[in-house]
């Protein structure tokens, strides 16, 4: 196997305070290129907390998270932000788009922040992503002028803008009807199929989990099951 995109070693996240709360504990996890993994578990089991650790939005109290082979716990906030910008993409249950900006501008946002592409190339890529996600004619609309499914697709386009190694999606279809969620799911699968990418998706929906290559089960902040889907 090649270098893992993300590797979690013995990571725990415990909130301090009068009554310490364990969000996740003793997590060992490897996300490899080409994977489409589902994280399942009861409500409050720590799925989102795990995603925040994988996405460098949160820092484990103990253990380590390696992105692209690089340990990240000792990094400062700015270095973590830089890694997030170039290596990771997030899609949340709610769309989380900037409300005053058009769909296209929202997709451009991470590219402009990173500045790896020339402005013309950034625009071309934004248009391409929107077209791929079936939003060709909706780029000029602001989020409040789009449907829920369309917004979630814009959010996916934005998460993919900088060609992240790992796309992390926390219940991306939680608010969508069956047709829309099927479409979103298909897109995520396509992403995972892309060169050297991986997708990790949190879901409550067994039909979605059934489509994943791998199912990680969490209960009470611990991984209690990690199964690859039987071939075929």
């Amino acid at each position: 196997m090649s270098v893992p995109l993300i590797e979690v070693r013995k990571a725990s996240r415990i909130l301090g305070g009068e009554v310490p709360t364990t969000l996740v504990a003793d997590i060992d996890l490897v996300v490899a290129p080409g994977e489409f993994a589902a994280v399942i578990g009861p409500s409050g089991s720590g799925k989102s907390s795990l995603m925040y650790l994988l996405g460098l939005l949160d820092v484990p109290t103990s253990g380590e998270v390696l992105v692209d082979g690089r340990p990240t716990r000792a990094l400062d906030e700015d270095a973590r932000s830089a890694l997030r910008l170039s290596h990771l993409g997030f899609v949340f249950q709610f769309h989380f788009l900037l409300p005053e900006f058009s769909a296209r501008d929202n997709v451009l946002l991470p590219m402009r922040a990173l500045g790896r592409l020339a402005p013309k190339a950034q625009e071309a890529r934004a248009d391409l992503l929107l077209a791929e996600l079936g939003l060709k004619d909706h780029g000029w609309k602001r989020p409040d002028q789009l449907s829920g499914g369309q917004r979630q697709r814009v959010a996916i386009a934005r998460a993919l803008a900088n060609e992240p190694a790992v796309l992390l999606a926390d219940e991306p279809t939680g608010n969508l009807d069956t047709a829309s969620s099927a479409q979103v799911l298909r897109l995520l699968r396509e992403v995972a199929a892309g060169e050297g990418r991986a997708v990790v998706i949190v879901t409550h929906d067994p039909t979605i989990a059934a489509q994943a290559d791998r199912t990680i089960t969490i209960v009470d902040g611990r991984i209690v099951g990690d199964q690859a889907r039987a071939a075929g």
């Binding site: 939005l57 932000s81 890694l83 997030r84 910008l85 989380f96 788009l97 922040a113």
Partner: protein, 411 residues
Amino acid sequence: MNLVLEIALTHVRFRLRQTVVGVLGVATGVGFSVMMASLMEGSQRDFIRQLVDALPHVSVTDERREPPPQPAAAVYQAVAVLGLSTDEKRKGISNPYATIAGLEGWVPGAVAPSVQTKAVARFGGRDTTATVIGIDPRREVKVSQLVTQMRDGTLDGLHKASNAVILGDGLARRIGIRVGNTVTLATADGRAFYAQVTGLFHSGVRQIDENQIYTLLRTAQVLAGRTALINEIRVRVDDAMQAREVAGRIEKLTGYKSVSWQEAHEDLLSAFQIRNAIMIMVVGAILLVASFGTYNIVSTITHEKARDIAIMKSLGFRESVVRRIFVLEAAVIGLGGCLAGFVLGYLLCRGLGLIEFRTGFSDRTGLPLIYEPAHYLLAGGVALASSVIAGYFPARKAARVHPVEIIRGAS
């Protein structure tokens, strides 16, 4: 456009009402600061110009700052000399014309002799004390503004009658006298002279207009009871602001007390310093209050935008970038406020310029306003800086927010 700037401008644009209120707050501060500075400095300059014009720039009198050393003190080691009586009459400047010629050699300006004495001016049962100044009209025109201050008659009128005098118009009004009338001048030692009023002058400074009488040197010398007396040398310096230095040199060379207009009005000038200090504090307070508005608005925006901040940070925007967005918003409000404030300040000044306003002290009819770019730059700079500083604190707080806290809250 720069991404940070674009986001900042978008936030501001989508909150037009709040932004306008913030801009108006800063604009009011800047506008009134500009107006106040214009008025304060305008009146100060106006006042100083009158002081400068009203008197000769430097007055060299027959006094000395230090009493001459007593011979006894030179011979014995005297600590104090008691029982000295001062001369009853002023001594006068010795060899005045030689001194004047000496000064004319180097003083950048003009020099004229004069005699000062006191008298009571009486006419038709009314009287008032007056300072009688004997002048040489040909030289006087070079050291004072008397020619331009003449209201009735001319300076040459002094030659047209024996004992001719020119009165300040205020003094004339006090004793009810007109040009052509004869005034009685009574000296301290009881002598009285008749003098014909051949002119009136008006300097604009009430104290002078109600107190001074000009006459020829000869006439003043007779009044003082001493022929050939010259007890004041009047000097006009080309650059009025150098009067102090010139006075110092004259005093060093001649030994006579030389008083520049600055020294004569030291108290007024230091009152101006206090006035300016008060003005700076008031203006500073106005601008500070204006910046509170900016603080409030940026604070509100950061609260409303907590979710957007979480989005940007989760995307990988650095803390400093997020902070810069909101500081820029404060700067935009500050800058808008400055520009609007410049317009407001200018209009306020124009408006005040239209008001009729009289003081007893001088006879201008409007408020003395000046239009000085430095006032605009200073008020604008302070307002902009305080807006940015006011915006910095909520921006810093907002940028530090942990995105997870907000994402959890929103989901």
